[in-house]
Subunit: 399 residues, 2 copies
C-alpha cells in the first residue's frame, strides 16, 4: 500500500519498525532514519527476513533541509516522527515543503522550556490545509489512544461527557531498588513539576504531587496515583464539547518518589558540574553511570501496565459512567518486539495511526489531534495489533 519514513531509532521507533514489518500489506517499504545510522542498521538487520522492504539513512532531524532531501530521495507517503519532541517543527516544515503526511507521538517542546503545549503545532493548521496534507499529532498511547477512547465514548455511549479521568498505571518491576527508564532528569521533572487539571473552562494548577489518591486498577490492584499535568488535556478540553472536568493520574510508588527525592536532595541530579579531583564532573552524568543501564531493564521487567479513561456524562437524559482501558504485559511485549510495555504502548498506536492515514481512513487536510478522527477503525486495529481494550460500565470512580 505505501511507504513510511520513520525518523528515530530509540525504544519507541524500534516498536514502530517491528509493528510495520508485521503489517507488510500496509507498510510495503520503510526507511529508518536517525543521527546514529548504526542503530537503524541494527534494526534493519533484525527484521530483514520479512516482506517489508527496509532501508536506512543518516539524518539530523534538526535540519529541515536534510529532512527535505531525504523525503525527496525516499518519497514516502507518510513521515512517522518518533525522534525527540524538539524536532517536531523542523520535520513538519519538511513535510509541508514536500507535501507528505505527518504523524508524531508527543507534542513539540522548545529545548529551553519545559512547556508541554500544542500551540506551536496548531499554528501549522492553515498551512497543512492549504498544502492538502494531514498531520496527526500525539498518536502514542497518552496522548493518542486516550484521545481515540474519548472519541469512541462520545460517538457510541454519551450525548454529553462531563468528566474524563485518564489513569496511567505502570506496575512493572525490574527488580532493582531503583532505576530509571530514561533520563533521570526527566523523571525528576515529572515529580517536581506543578500538576494541573481542567475544570469549568480553565486549567487549575496544583503543587507538585499535591493531589494523591489510591485506585484499584483492574488486573493490577491498588496503586498510589498522583494528579499530573499531561498534554492531551489541552486538546480534549477543546475537542470534547461540553466537557467540564479533565484530570490525568499517574502511578508512582512511594519507593520511586523517595529515591528521586533523596538523589535530588543530595545534589546527585544536578546538571551543574562540580570540582572532583581537579576536573569538572556533572553529578547527573555520574549518577547515570552508577544506575543500571536503562537498556538492561527491558529483559528483566515483569508486571503490567494499565492505561485507560473513565468517562462520566449523560445519555438520553440519564447519568452514565464508562471505563475503557488496555492492560499490557512487559514480558510479553519484550518477547514480541524486544521492548517492554512503555515503548510498546507508544509505538503500536503510532503504527496504527500511520496505517489509518495510508488507508485514507484518517485523511483530511490540516493538523489534528487523534480525537478529531473516526475512532472505530482505530479501536478495531488496537485489538488486532496488540493493544486489546476492555470496558466497564460501572467502574469505581476516582474521588
Amino acid at each position: 500500500m505505501g511507504k513510511a519514513l520513520i525518523i528515530g531509532a530509540g525504544g519507541v521507533a524500534s516498536v514502530v519498525v517491528h509493528k510495520c514489518c508485521q503489517n507488510p500489506e500496509v507498510f510495503e517499504e520503510i526507511c529508518i532514519a536517525s543521527r546514529t545510522v548504526s542503530k537503524c542498521d541494527a534494526l534493519k538487520e533484525k527484521l530483514k527476513e520479512g516482506k517489508t522492504k527496509i532501508s536506512t539513512a543518516s539524518l539530523d532531524a534538526d535540519n529541515t533541509e536534510e529532512v527535505i532531501a531525504l523525503i525527496n530521495q525516499f518519497k514516502p507517503d507518510i513521515v512517522i516522527n518518533v525522534a525527540l519532541p524538539y524536532q517536531d517543527l523542523t520535520i513538519m516544515d519538511a513535510c509541508l515543503a514536500t507535501k507528505v503526511d505527518y504523524l508524531d507521538t508527543a507534542n513539540y517542546e522548545p529545548l529551553d522550556t519545559a512547556k508541554f503545549e500544542y500551540k506551536w503545532q496548531w499554528a501549522y493548521k492553515e498551512k497543512f490545509e492549504k498544502a492538502g496534507i494531514t498531520a496527526v499529532l500525539g498518536c502514542g498511547f497518552d496522548p493518542g489512544v486516550t484521545g481515540v477512547f474519548s472519541a469512541f465514548a462520545m460517538k457510541h455511549y454519551f450525548d454529553e461527557i462531563k468528566q474524563i479521568d485518564i489513569l496511567d498505571a505502570n506496575a512493572g518491576d525490574h527488580g532493582y531498588p531503583f532505576a530509571t527508564n530514561f533520563n533521570p532528569e526527566i523523571n525528576i521533572r515529572e515529580i517536581t513539576a506543578n500538576g494541573s487539571y481542567f475544570e469549568k473552562g480553565q486549567f487549575i494548577e496544583t503543587e507538585p504531587l499535591e493531589i494523591k489518591r489510591v485506585y484499584n486498577f483492574p488486573e493490577i490492584g491498588n496503586k498510589d496515583i498522583y494528579l499530573l499535568h499531561h498534554e492531551e488535556m489541552e486538546s480534549l478540553a477543546l475537542n470534547i464539547k461540553g466537557i467540564e472536568k479533565i484530570r490525568f493520574w499517574m502511578t508512582f510508588s512511594e519507593k520511586y518518589i523517595t529515591h528521586l527525592r533523596v538523589l535530588e536532595n543530595v545534589g546527585m541530579t544536578s546538571i551543574e558540574p562540580i570540582d572532583f579531583e581537579g576536573q569538572k564532573i556533572v553529578p547527573l552524568q555520574f549518577l547515570k553511570a552508577v544506575l543500571p543501564d536503562p537498556a538492561s531493564l527491558g529483559p528483566r521487567t515483569k508486571g503490567k501496565t494499565n492505561i485507560g479513561c473513565i468517562y462520566q456524562g449523560t445519555k438520553n437524559g440519564e447519568d452514565k459512567t464508562y471505563y475503557v482501558y488496555n492492560v499490557c504485559d512487559h514480558e510479553e511485549c519484550y518477547k514480541e518486539v524486544g521492548s517492554q510495555a512503555i515503548s510498546y504502548t507508544t509505538g503500536v498506536p503510532a503504527m496504527i495511526g500511520a496505517m489509518m492515514v495510508l488507508q485514507k481512513k484518517w485523511k483530511k487536510p490540516g493538523v489534528f489531534n487523534v480525537e478529531e478522527f473516526d475512532p472505530d477503525p482505530f479501536m478495531e486495529a488496537l485489538n488486532k495489533w496488540g493493544l486489546p481494550w476492555k470496558e466497564e460500565f460501572a467502574p469505581t470512580l476516582v474521588d
Copy 2:
C-alpha cells in the same frame, strides 16, 4: 601542675586543646602533635594568648618509635590520645616504654575489621601495673561519662543496679536535607551493623535497626531511638556487679535513615571504583564531593544533644529508678570552642579525665575503664567545665 601531650588535631582534639587552655592551673604546658602539623599550628595560633604554654610537633602516631622520641623530648605527665582508634596500641606502647600515663576516648579497632572490643587494650593491664602507670580507656562521653554516671549511681543511689539504658540523642539540625558529620561510610556502617544488647550474662545480637522505640527526651522531645551495639556495654557488663541488662540507644531520624539507604541502594556509597568516561572513580568519593563539607556544618548546626543513662535497681530492698543526663547546645559549643556538640561532649571529658590523673584523683597502676575510678570529682568537674548534668528519680522508662 603538669604537661600534656595531645595527639590528634581533629574536631575532638580541638575541643581538648581549648578546654586545657581554659584550665592553665592544671595544664601548664601542652604539646599538640599530629601528622599534619599545620593543623596543630593553627590551633596554637588561636590559643596563644592564654596562660597555657603551647608547642606543636609533627607526629606519625602509627610509629611507636616516633611517639617515644616525642615523649622523651617533651616529657609530658600524660598523653591524651585523640587521634584515630587504629593508633591506640602504638601510643600505649610508647607510654609503656617511657612510663607516662595514658588516656583515650575510643577503644582500639584493628584497621581491617569493624570490631569494637576492649580485649586488645585490656591485654596491657599487667604491663601498665608493672610500669606503675595509669591508662584511662574510653574517656569521652559515650564511652566515658556514661561510665562515670554508672559509678556515681552505684556509689550513691543503689545497692544493686539491674538494668542500664544508655540514651544518646542528637537533635541537631544543620539545615541541609542530608549531610554527614564524618565519613559517610562510617554512617552507613552504623545503620547496617547488627545491634546487640547484654542480658543475663551474654550479648544478644539483633538485626540492624531491628529494635526501635520512641523516647521523650527532656529538653528535646520525642525521638526515634534504635538499639545499637556500643563499646561501653562491654566494660559495664564486667564492672557493674550483678547487672542483668544493658542496652544502648541512639536517635536516627527517619529522614537520615532514608537518605543513607537510598544512597546505598543506588550504589553511591560503594567503595568499588566504576568506569566513568575512561577513568576509575569510587562512588563514595564522588558522593563526599557532592555532599556539604563536614567542616561547614559546625557554624550552622542548631539544637541540642541529650546523652544519659537510666538505671533500674534496688536500694535498701526497694525498687528504684534513676536517670542522669547532660543536655548540650550545638550553637553554644560552637560559640565557646568553635566546634559543635558532638566534638564538645567527647573533648571535655577527655580534658577532665586527664585532669583527674594529673591531680592524682584517678591515679593507680593499670589499665582502667572510667567506671573503675571514683566518680565524684569527675561529676563535680562536669558541672564546672561545660557539661552540667541533671537528675530524675521517676523517669519514663524505655519499654
